[in-house]
Amino acid sequence: MKLNPFIKYLIGSLSLLVFGTVTAQSASAKTHYLTNVPDYSFLETKRTIHTTNDYFNDVKITIPKGTIFQATGVSIGVKTGHPFLSIDLNGLSWHLRKIVIDSKHDQQSTASLWLTTANFKRVRTPSYLAYYQATKRFPASYRGTLHQGDKYPQDDSDVTAKSNEVRVTNDGYLEYTENASVQATKQIKPQYSVKVQRTIKKGNNTYLYTASNIPAIPSTHIRSTGKYQYRFKFINTNQHLVTTNPSMSNPDVFGDMTVVVRYYIGNTQTKYYLCTQFISK
């Protein structure tokens, strides 16, 4: 029986409608990825991230919603073209990195995570990191850490050198660690880890406000109650110092250099240094 062309048209349009709805549903489920995440920029988790440690995959890592971390080593998937990275837990506060520091493997990065808009969003450089140039390219292990001492130790001794360290983690905790290895990337357990409630930057001085104290470093007790009880002052002197390490093959020529900036904490004479530049041949 020859089909009426009008009926043919009806069937055609109906099937189009059905297909149309099917495609519409899959369009709403499509994953969107962050575009343009520069290295050393900051991201915040929009949901709790459940992942594992990289390579070994035997430690469960949980990164809560609202955690700010620094994007380093952003890569693009070869097959899909989508961006991904691993989060270096050394940049986060003790209560988040504890699980990998205490694990039997020397691995503090998460497995690769796709940078989806559902999981992450770009944020401005947090104010509690204003005491140093957080977006400047520099080896991750030295990021934002104030080492107690004159300047970076000379070659041969930098492997064993230890110092007291003060830093604010990417997720906003002021930590003090006694006798930490200057060179190590693995951030061991600090003596103190307190949340920074507020930051005020005035010229070269950065003021950090916390609810609890870190007795090991100078602070001003300003209130007895509330979130802003203690104030820590980081003074950036802008004085640069360089440690030159000779080349291993020829001691008369230079192999590499580390440039640091001198800081003081509070109005004391105890010197601290922050690594800002590593120059090698």
């Binding site: 004159d150 110092l241 030159t244």
Partner: protein
């Protein structure tokens, strides 16, 4: 009938468009730090029109800057990079600029050439990304010694260099910071050069020599070899514990003598 006319029209117009599109502007690849050779004598002045500059035909120059104006590309050169008899007008007290005026890049003025082999002993172009406070140097000067003295801004040293137009110049005493190169103590024209990539050696040949540099005699000719050592020296100014600037130098050997080339300056 009408349709074929239309087709014919579109084909011819398309063809014409193709031809027009295929016309490549002259010297499209001339950029900053490119090398050019003059195809005629260029009579110009310095950029401030204070002194006359004459650049003879077949002189090798380096483009210090490039611009487009109208449908033409222009370059200017740093005349201090030329041999003494060409840069002499810059030494007059009237001159306060080493740069030439804009010169049109066209076949009548220049032909583009590859970087001359005799200039292979140093970096004539910078490939590093621009960083605030960091300068990458591209000067031809080699200084005798191991590292830049801390008080170099008020000091003089022993300098040598090869001009873009192929003259080896030796300065027995030249300030580290100078405006225009003075008359060299000795000079010799490069007649040939070879670059040995694996050894990083620039071997230059001359018809004459002078005692100040360790030339090697080879038949009726003389050679001078500059070898990059793959080593650096550094100078922290004013001192390592109060850094205002950091200077990095690449160490080279002129035969057996230690000389250095200023590579980078980082200011704090």
């Amino acid at each position: 009938m009408k349709s074929t006319h239309i087709i014919g029209l579109t084909i011819t117009s398309g063809f014409a468009f193709l031809l027009a599109g295929a016309a490549v502007p002259a010297h499209a690849t001339v950029v900053k730090n490119s090398f050019l050779k003059t195809t005629r004598t260029i009579r110009t002045t310095n950029s401030k029109k204070q002194v006359k500059l004459t650049i003879p035909k077949n002189t090798v120059v380096q483009a210090a800057g490039v611009k487009w104006s109208g449908h033409h590309k222009y370059v200017y050169i740093n005349a201090d990079q030329l041999s003494y008899h060409l840069r002499k007008p810059l030494l007059s007290t009237k001159s306060t600029s080493n740069f030439s005026r804009w010169l049109r890049v066209s076949h009548t003025n220049f032909q583009q050439i590859k970087k001359p082999v005799y200039l292979s002993y140093y970096n004539t172009n910078v490939h590093n990304p621009l960083t605030k406070g960091t300068t990458y140097h591209t000067k031809a000067d080699l200084w005798k010694g191991h590292a830049l003295p801390v008080d170099y801004q008020s000091q003089s040293g022993i300098r040598l260099r090869v001009t873009t137009d192929g003259y080896l110049e030796y300065f027995a005493s030249s300030p580290y910071v100078y405006e225009t190169s003075a008359k060299p103590s000795d000079t010799a024209k490069v007649i040939g050069a070879t670059y040995l990539d694996g050894l990083n050696q620039d071997i230059m040949t001359f018809n004459s020599s002078f005692s100040a540099l360790p030339f090697k005699k080879s038949g009726n000719q003389y050679t001078l070899t500059i070898s990059e050592q793959g080593q650096w020296s550094t100078t922290a100014t004013p001192n390592e514990d109060n850094l205002k600037s950091l200077n990095l130098q690449k160490i080279s050997k002129v035969e057996d003598q230690e000389w250095y080339w200023r590579y980078q300056t980082i200011n704090y």
